[in-house]
């Protein structure tokens, strides 16, 4: 019904593809940041360390006292005293091998793992101070919280990017639809004269732009997913967020929503633009 327009059609497809490509990355970033925030919140929150620094002779007595306190604290699932080898393994990355650790006055470390309900850190701290003055509870809160906040903010930025990409796509489709409607004013006039209702004319444009947006977005999403898939593998412990970018398991289904969203946006953007400009024609 509406004459084909090669060049502008290709521009619409290209823009939809580019937006979908960007959306896939924003989505991957959001999901990775979300996973990181969750992990820092849940896994690390449940583990804590009690460090006992005391004169050599008192360490053992204070360790026993601290263990007594920990074992009677509700919300703690397990408590374990780290042995010499384990402590040495923890220190090796920092100070290198071959150091005679035996001669250094090392504090004793106790690993504490909370259960689902969690424990009251402040209460535990006070009881430890009373029973074992050399014991210090470190629940990692001090360094964990800013990291969780940063990861959460990053996830929000990713979601905001997706929102902006969606709105930009809508704006682009509206502009393209307006151009097409203006270029086809004569066609619309003829259709009106032979009895076409607005819905018929709108449908012709909506079908065309939705198809273009979905085709472009499918292409862009495919390329975006491929690019994410081909990201070089880095161990997550070392790379942190950079290594975590990507999709995991069912997460690969998320980007498939991008072409659907593009189609939905194109449908409504074209429909509203067309209905509005038809009102201005006779």
């Amino acid at each position: 019904m509406v004459p084909p327009t090669g060049f502008t059609a290709q521009l619409t497809v290209f823009s939809a593809a580019a937006m979908a490509f960007l959306a896939v990355f924003a989505l991957a970033l959001s999901l990775a940041a979300g996973r990181l925030a969750d992990r820092w919140t849940s896994e690390l929150a449940r583990s804590a360390t009690v460090r006992i620094s005391a004169p050599q002779g008192q360490i053992e007595a204070q360790t026993r006292a601290a263990l007594g306190v920990l074992q009677t604290t509700p919300g703690i699932a397990s408590v374990r005293v780290l042995d010499k080898d384990e402590q040495q393994a923890l220190l090796t990355p920092w100070i290198g091998q071959g150091l005679p650790l035996d001669v250094l006055p090392l504090p004793q470390l106790i690993e504490v793992v909370g259960d689902e309900t969690g424990y009251d850190s402040e209460g535990l701290r006070q009881r430890l101070a009373a029973e074992a003055p050399g014991a210090r509870l470190d629940d990692h809160a001090r360094w964990r919280e800013p990291l969780v906040r940063a990861a959460g903010r990053l996830r929000d930025l990713g979601l905001l990017s997706i929102l902006l990409i969606t709105l930009t796509t809508a704006a682009m489709i509206v502009l393209a639809a307006h151009a097409a409607l203006a270029a086809n004013a004569q066609v619309i006039r003829v259709l009106r004269l032979i009895g076409a209702q607005d819905s018929f004319i709108v449908h012709a444009f909506v079908r065309r732009f939705t198809a273009r947006a979905v085709a472009g977005a499918t292409l862009g999403t495919g390329l975006g997913m491929l690019a994410v898939l081909l990201l070089p593998d880095a161990p997550e412990t070392a790379g942190g967020l950079a290594a975590g970018i990507g999709f995991r398991g069912w997460g690969w289904l998320w980007p498939l929503a991008v072409p659907l969203l593009a189609g939905f946006v194109a449908f409504w953007a074209t429909r509203l633009a067309a209905l509005r400009s038809l009102k201005e024609l006779s």
Binding site: M1, P3, P4, V187, R189, V190, L191, R192, L193, I194, G195, A196, Q197, D198, S199, F200, L278, K279, S282
Partner: protein, 225 residues
């Protein structure tokens, strides 16, 4: 079916048409004459509801045009076949597709269309030009195609604006006999033309009334032709 009651219309300053009353009833045949710029096309636009009168009432199939919304007007236009002066085709579609367009637009496309379309193309003598694009046709062929498009929905009223404007006399007579044939089937027909020979030729075939726009008013100009 289309009635004008004391209708006036003006573009901005001053009236082009004023105090016009006319009723296009089934089986009627009207010619509309008048010098160029006298308002023939404007008169037709009022009839097919592209323009709304500045005063008076236009009624289409019993409803006042002012009370009709865009969709009502679209539906009413399916019962009015219009042959425009410049035909108004979609140049990227073939002639057959252009002629069948009102069916598609009205959601009336059906299985027997191909046969009907062939019969219609034969009736206007375009059977062998079905696949041609509008710009490839001669003036006369385009006018006949426009007539075919105007009648494909079997409308109650046919409005034609200078349908013989750029065709030779033989073709004019053919178009006229097509319109006369439609008139005998009970359609109301209104032809705007300044071709007096056409009107004289028509008098032998149909019982036509001749209207003349003069000094913004519509006058019956029957007998003196």
């Amino acid at each position: 079916m289309i009635g004008l009651e004391n209708v006036s219309y003006g573009y901005g300053d001053g009236e082009l048409l004023s105090g016009i009353t006319l009723d296009l009833s089934p089986g009627s045949f009207h010619f509309l004459t008048g010098p160029s710029g006298s308002g023939k096309t404007t008169f037709l636009k009022l009839c097919y509801m592209e323009l709304v009168p500045t005063a008076g009432h236009v009624r289409a199939f019993g409803r006042d045009v002012r009370e009709m919304d865009r969709d009502d007007i679209a539906r009413a236009r399916r019962r009015i076949g219009i042959v425009h002066q410049d035909c108004q085709f979609l140049d990227h579609l073939s002639i057959a597709e252009n002629i069948a367009l009102p069916l598609a637009v009205g959601g009336r496309a059906g299985p027997d269309d191909a046969e009907n379309l062939d019969a219609l193309l034969g009736w206007v003598g375009l059977g062998n030009r079905a696949g041609a694009l509008p710009p490839e046709l001669s003036g006369g062929e385009r006018q006949r195609a426009a007539l075919a498009r105007a009648v494909i929905m079997s409308p109650d009223v046919i409005l034609a604006d200078e349908p013989t404007g750029n065709v030779d006399w033989e073709m004019s007579k053919r178009l006229l006999s097509l319109l006369a044939e439609l008139n005998r089937m009970g359609k109301a027909i209104l032809v705007a033309t300044h071709d007096l020979n056409l009107i004289r030729a028509a008098k032998t075939k149909v019982n036509a009334r001749v209207l003349r726009i003069s000094d913004r008013r519509l006058q019956l100009a029957g007998a003196d032709l």
